[in-house]
């Protein structure tokens, strides 16, 4: 195993799938989290994910239930909450919007991409293969990042990153 530690930023849908036993993506998500642990890589989330989780509070009993289980996933997999520079995250997300990385309907996704970039994440992991783990979205983000002298990021699904870890790390 290489000692090259990577930082993996989790999207909210990964946390929710990991914490819901009956979910169709649960087993693959857990396999992915176990592989990250075996590879000794670091898992993080940023404040845009906290904004998402907070919304669960407004969804009644089901929301409380999902929130409690999602939060239980954080210590279980040693997921750390990174301290964002909120203004920079907002500014970068607005720049992505200006550059039409995604439309304003998906501004929350842009906040996550900005937060992950500024947190120096190597990978953003999301089950959303249309608006996140999508080549044209990643290219558009990285065009802005290169122009701004920020690091380039990779956005992949848990399934894809599991494959990378199995083939290249373990």
């Amino acid at each position: 195993m290489t000692s090259n530690e990577k930082t993996v930023y989790l999207d909210g849908n990964v946390l929710l799938a990991a914490s819901t036993l009956e979910d169709k993506l649960h087993d693959e998500t857990i396999e992915f989290l176990d592989l990250v642990r075996q590879a000794d890589w670091k898992l993080i989330i940023g404040t845009p994910i906290l904004l998402e989780l907070e919304q669960l509070l407004y969804l009644g009993d089901m929301g409380w239930f999902r929130l409690r289980h999602a939060l239980a996933t954080l210590p279980k997999y040693e997921v750390k909450v990174v301290e964002d520079d909120h203004r920079r995250v907002l500014e970068l997300a607005n720049l992505y919007l200006e550059e039409k990385v995604l439309s304003e309907r998906y501004f929350a996704n842009l906040l996550i991409l900005a937060s992950a970039t500024l947190a120096d994440a190597d990978y953003v992991v999301s089950w959303d293969s249309r608006r996140m783990a999508n080549k044209s979205v990643v290219s558009a983000v990285n065009r802005v990042n290169v122009n701004r002298k920020l690091r380039e990021i990779e956005v992949v699904t848990p399934k894809r990153l599991s494959q990378i870890i199995k083939e290249e790390v373990l």
């Binding site: 849908n13 210590p75 909120h86």
Partner: protein, 66 residues
């Protein structure tokens, strides 16, 4: 367009809804408004997360009041 596999996941669909709410709340927010929204989320979620870590029993009391 064919349904993507993830669109059959309830967690995925719930997350899309949460992202919609976040977008509605912070799109076109001024920096100070965004900072306030993040500050509130941190004040609520971070202690709750620590409480979950410390004790499931304590969380049960917090959430269910019993």
């Amino acid at each position: 367009m064919a349904k993507a596999r993830e669109e059959e996941s309830l967690s995925f669909l719930l997350d899309e809804k949460l992202k919609e709410f976040v977008t509605k709340n912070v799109l076109k927010a001024k920096p100070e408004e965004y900072e306030e929204a993040v500050g509130i989320a941190k004040e609520v979620i971070v202690p709750l997360s620590k409480a979950v870590e410390r004790s499931k029993k304590l969380v049960r009391m917090l959430l269910l009041g019993g």
